[in-house]
């Protein structure tokens, strides 16, 4: 009985605290790719399958304030470099959700570009009764389609007020803390949220690279990769998300 009494103030504290909505901070995402599936099925893939670990894990940070955010590489969880994986370590995604625009710094086949455009418009279908807890937040499921035919499964929480998400994925009533894109054999899951001691100065548009409108570059890449088959598609998805 004594125990219960001591629990009560704790509970009150939790509820009182939880009423607060988060409007700025830093979220760490764990990005996992199934390398064995992403390699495809050719003879070369068979030859290398046993030499490459099944999963690659990388960590990215999403630093945000009320309406702007920067998403960028933090560290790799892999012991060795994995072939096929493009180098995203210097990529920066800067999104301004109030004006619905982005300025991204991206390594496109070895050259740095500053790409800007409007954020992509994703039609989200909500499944409000499907929920899942991610990084301590209760998240709801939404399903969207990007690049005309690629399914995105997202989980968002309304406790974080920014309508953002990793890379250019956004547009839900809250922060996206989990994404799975089966055709890219990759998932992005938030592992922790830091609210205090966040250096919000990093939320700024990147500037290292050749300036180009994203849609223009996309047309260019589509043309070049037209005969690459499924490799070309994976390359486009990886570059323009």
């Amino acid at each position: 009985m004594k125990k219960i009494f001591s629990l009560i103030p704790v509970l009150f504290f939790v509820i009182a605290n939880a009423q607060q909505f988060v409007s700025n901070g830093s979220i760490e995402f764990e990005v996992r790719t199934n390398n064995h599936k992403a390699m495809g099925e050719g003879v070369w893939a068979e030859m290398f399958r046993d030499k490459i670990p099944q999963f690659s894990t990388n960590y990215y940070d999403f630093v945000f304030n009320e309406d702007k955010a920067v998403y960028k590489f933090n560290r790799s969880g892999d012991k060795a470099k994995v072939p096929f994986m493009s180098d995203n370590s210097e990529n920066v995604w800067y999104s301004d959700y109030s004006s619905s625009t982005f300025i991204d710094q991206k390594n496109v086949f070895g050259d740095m570009y500053i790409l800007s455009d409007s954020l992509m418009n994703i039609n989200w279908k909500l499944s409000p009764n499907e929920t899942r807890e991610i990084a301590g937040f209760n998240c709801r499921k939404a399903t969207g389609i990007i690049f005309d035919s690629v399914y995105v499964f997202a989980f968002y929480t309304d406790e974080i007020t920014i309508s953002g998400g990793p890379m250019g994925i956004h547009g839900l009533p809250g922060m996206i803390l989990g994404i799975t894109i089966p055709r890219m054999y990759t998932s992005w899951i938030a592992t922790k949220l830091q609210v205090v001691d966040v250096d919000t100065k990093v939320i700024a548009a990147p500037s290292k690279g050749k300036k180009k409108k994203a849609t223009e570059l996309l047309d260019n890449v589509k043309k070049v990769t037209a005969d690459w088959g499924s490799w070309g598609q994976q390359a486009i998805w990886g570059l323009f998300l």
């Binding site: 495809g40 050719g42 070369w44 009533p173």
Partner: protein, 920 residues
């Protein structure tokens, strides 16, 4: 007119609703405490498909406005982390819908009202309910979601939400592992029901609890889908026949069940298909391709190197083959893939007719002569190869790998050889020789590798031990008639009729220990030490035919018995610096070797000691990921071989006799290599270039003495001044306005070689300047075109005599075209051309074009049946030909090779649940 006037207001009203956007507003309030609900999310979904249209958050007073909505039927969804969700259907009748005050209910109140129902289990094991998937019939091609709907106690609603025993299922695992982030919907929608063996439902403790072992009381209802072991097979049967007398038949199958694979193949052919091609080797040969190695480099690059294994494709110089091959391969994995077993057996028999004709012109300062030779022979080779590999990942820190290979090669060769040397239309010598050999070679090699990782990242230890045993037996017969002339008159005749029996045995053990220590960030030190011991015994007995007609009289000068012992210790150290832009490594290996040679016939022992050093340096600078520069230096000491120091005397070719040189010193070779490359995918351009240079101190070169009978005695001597330089670059780009890629590649090479002829030093300088132009076009599944001619200018100059010098142009090229035609037809053709500038000294010009073509028709479901008609060497011009300019001679060689034939092949492909890997 009146009617129209009436219509206008109606039309306007209609238009008003559809062009104007809708606004929804209201106020939120806590139903218990009547508190305002700041930051609650108000989402508006389209009624027809639940697509999110707009959303807003409530202000400090709980007021909200969602505007700019299109359409007229909506779902209003209001959510707040600590209140129950609120849903309402709204239909727009005016431009603004005021929903008024909405009371939200705290979640704590809702939870109390949840009723827990219990399901009806099928099989209960502990706290797990197990359903056998096959007992529940679903339509073919159904996904797992449809299967779950059929299971008693499990409900799946319209949105894909799963409820098991009245509780929400939080996780769906596949074979115990999360399937892309454990989202239940992804696994159940993407996996096929017929692949599932069992559906297991249980309460999973939280990851935290599993990790700490402390039960925190949190349990998630979890479904685990235990998948069936995928069973199936694929394979093909090919039957090909053609004229003249050509056949190429094979059958291959690969059957799998889960991780277990059994593959088998058989080939019989006389069209040059002497082994599995690389694609079939991957699918049916256990993935092991002779001479091919592949791996991953430290910077994440992949490499495949092919050194041309013993059984590699028929080169066109070894005559006309007729072959039979068979192989069997088995592999499996156990204990959650921690232990893998891989084993294979291969057999091959190749019979081949060989015909080689050579013509050479030789020039010495005071004389010159012509050599002609003709060799006709037959070889028959039988090979058995067995290998077994076991690999065990004992734990995350230790792994063991054991590989054993057993080989048996038996070959029977016989040849008839005739050669003559003519000077000023007078014979110098001629030789007629008949040989036959039966060589039996057995070899066993076994290696054990233990790798250990330490807790400190990048600190590793590995120990590799290899033991080998080899036995070679040769039984040969030599019959020869050698005639020597002086001034055109027969001077001397040698006859040989001998049998020689050789017995060689070798055993060796070698152990290498390597240890890697991270010193500071990005810098590692690798230390290694290896110790090797080899013991060899070589016995050779030569018998001469006795008067009784038997080979029984031992020829002492050609019989000998040696025992070799070799002990080598090799310590080494390397430092690796791996920065983002700069990768640097340097180190040195030293080798201390001790040879001891015991001549059992003479009872003498000779010892040799050598200290050799192998320094190296590697540097790579990455300007960007698509642009880099490499520099590489290696230095290498090579000790003379025992064969060079003291060869075993043989008399197979009495006109060319090799003698030893006890005074040989070690040679030291320096290699330098520079490389720069870049590519630009978007501009479709690429460039790569490299320069390599090598020079050798105390190089091993040949010193020949030729007597007046044209008999050559030669040995290896040391010389300085041998070097080689080569450079090439390649620039590739897309031709504007077309879909063709073009690349231009200039190249050059220069070599300086030294030899000695009758004591005189001869320097041969050779150089080649060339340009390769390659054009290609590729359209996926449609067209593959390539054409790459190259032109080169060749120059060869010897200091001892200018008669063997040469300057000539050469054009070579190869092209192919693969085109997919309508109605499942495919056309392929390839062509290779060789043109050489006419040289007055050669009898023929030897320009030739080899042109092949084939037409394939695929038919039936999944292209089960394939018909192929091909013609090899349509122009019947294929030649095996080689031209060579040496220091004091030039030689041309003609080989018997496959010529024109046509072949019609029927292929039947079989498959169930699988297909062979192909392409990239």
């Amino acid at each position: 007119m009146k009617k129209l006037l009436v219509l206008i207001p109606i039309f306007l009203a209609f238009e008003f609703l559809h062009s104007q956007t809708i606004t929804i507003k209201g106020t939120l309030s806590d139903s218990v405490e009547n508190k305002k609900l700041t930051n609650s999310v108000i989402s508006v979904l389209r009624k027809s498909d639940s697509v999110l249209l707009k959303f807003a958050r409530a202000d400090n007073n709980g007021n909200f406005t969602v505007s700019g909505l299109k359409g007229d039927s909506f779902i209003l969804m209001i959510t707040h982390p600590y209140f129950g969700d609120y849903f309402d259907n709204l239909v727009a009748k005016q431009s603004t819908i005021d929903v008024g005050k909405i009371f939200m209910t705290p979640k704590s109140k809702l939870l109390a009202e949840v009723i827990v129902r219990s399901g009806s289990p099928i099989r209960i094991k502990g706290d797990t309910t197990i359903y056998t998937a096959d007992s529940f019939k679903v339509r073919p091609g159904a996904n797992v979601e449809e299967l779950l709907r059929r299971l008693p106690g499990i409900q799946v609603d319209r949105d894909g939400k799963i409820t098991a025993m009245g509780e929400r299922v939080k996780k769906v695992l596949v074979d115990g592992e999360e399937f892309f982030g454990s989202d239940p919907g992804i696994a159940t929608k993407n996996l096929r029901a017929d692949q599932v063996q069992e559906v297991q439902v249980f309460d999973k403790k939280s990851d935290q609890a599993e990790f700490t072992g402390i039960d925190d009381g949190v349990k998630d209802k979890t479904i685990n889908l235990k998948m069936k072991k995928m069973k199936g097979y694929f394979g093909k049967v090919e039957a090909g026949g053609g004229l003249p007398d050509k056949y190429n038949n094979d059958a291959m199958v690969n059957s799998f069940a889960g991780k277990r694979k059994v593959a088998a193949y058989g080939i019989m052919s006389n069209t040059g298909q002497t082994n599995l091609d690389w694609q079939d080797a991957q699918n049916y040969g256990g993935g092991e391709i002779d001479g091919m190695t592949s791996g991953i480099t430290d910077d994440g690059g992949m490499y495949i190197s092919y050194s041309g294994g013993e059984d590699s494709y028929w080169g066109g110089r070894n005559g006309i083959p007729q072959n039979w091959n068979a192989g069997l391969h088995y592999s499996n994995k156990y204990h959650n893939d921690k232990l893998s077993f891989n084993s294979g057996y291969k057999y091959s028999k190749v019979n081949s007719d060989i015909g080689v004709t050579t013509h050479s012109e030789n020039f010495l300062p005071d004389t010159s002569w012509t050599n002609l030779s003709q060799n006709n022979g037959f070889t028959s080779t039988n090979k058995h190869a067995f290998n077994v590999t076991m690999e065990s990942n004992i734990d995350s820190m230790n792994s063991l790998k054991w590989v054993t290979k057993v080989n048996n090669n038996n070959s029977n060769n016989s040849s008839h050889f005739y050669s003559e040397a003519v000077s000023d239309s007078q014979f110098i010598n001629n030789s007629l020789r008949k040989t036959s050999n039966n060589i039996d070679k057995n070899n066993i090699t076994t290696t054990l590798l233990w790798k250990h990782k330490f807790k400190k990242t990048f600190r590793t230890l590995s120990i590799n031990t290899e033991a080998s045993w080899t036995e070679v037996k040769n039984n040969g017969l030599l019959q020869a008639l050698n005639s020597y002339y002086y001034g055109g008159v027969l001077n001397k005749i040698d006859t040989i009729d001998q049998q020689n029996i050789q017995n060689n045995h070798g055993t060796g053990v070698n152990t290498r220990i390597a240890y890697t220590e991270p010193i500071i960030k990005d810098v590692t030190l690798q230390l290694s030490y290896s110790l090797g011991y080899n013991h060899n015994s070589n016995d050779r007995i030569t018998y001469e035919k006795s008067t009784a007609g038997k080979y029984e009289e031992t020829v002492d000068s050609l019989s000998n018995s040696f025992v070799f012992d070799k002990l080598i210790q090799t310590p080494g150290a390397t430092i690796n610096i791996n920065k983002k832009k700069n990768i640097f490594s340097f180190g040195i290996n030293a080798s201390f070797s001790n040879y001891s040679q015991l001549d059992k016939t003479k009872q003498t022992t000779t010892n040799y000691n050598y200290h050799n050093f192998y320094p190296y340096l590697n540097y790579m600078h990455k300007f960007k990921s698509n642009q880099n520069f490499r520099f590489n230096y290696t230095g290498m000491t090579t000790p003379p071989s025992l064969e060079q120091l003291q060869p075993v005397r043989v008399n197979t070719d009495p006109l060319n006799i090799y003698i030893g040189n006890q005074n040989l010193k070690e040679s030291f070779r320096h290699n330098l290599y520079l490389n720069y490359s870049f590519y630009n995918v978007l501009k479709e351009k690429n460039f790569w270039s490299n320069v390599s240079y090598n020079t050798t101190e105390n190089a091993f070169v040949q010193s020949s003495y030729i007597d007046s009978f044209g008999k050559r005695t030669y040995q290896t001597v040391n010389a300085n001044g041998v070097y080689g330089l080569s450079a090439y670059c390649d620039y590739g780009f897309k031709i504007k306005g077309t879909k063709f890629n073009l690349s231009l590649g200039p190249s050059m090479s220069m070599n300086r070689n030294i030899d000695f002829v009758n004591g005189e030093k001869n320097i041969t300088n050779r150089s080649e300047y060339g340009l390769t132009i390659r054009a290609n076009r590729y359209v996926q599944k449609k067209l593959d075109f390539y054409f790459g001619p190259s032109i080169s200018w060749n120059h060869s100059k010897a200091s001892v005599n200018s008669a063997a010098n040469a300057d000539y142009w050469e054009v070579e090229g190869w092209g192919n075209l693969n085109y997919t035609l309508p109605k499942n037809f495919q056309f392929s053709t390839d062509i290779s051309v060789q043109f050489r500038q006419k040289d007055e000294r050669f009898s023929q010009n030897m320009n030739y074009t080899t042109w092949n073509a084939s037409l394939i028709k695929r038919m039936l479901k999944e292209n089960k049946l394939e018909l192929k008609l091909e013609v090899h060497d349509i122009l019947d011009e294929n030649r095996g030909y080689q031209r060579n300019f040496a220091s004091y001679s030039f030689t041309e060689t003609y080989y018997k090779t496959l010529r024109r034939f046509w072949l019609f092949t029927v292929t039947w492909n079989i498959s169930k649940n699988g297909k062979p890997a192909s392409g990239f």
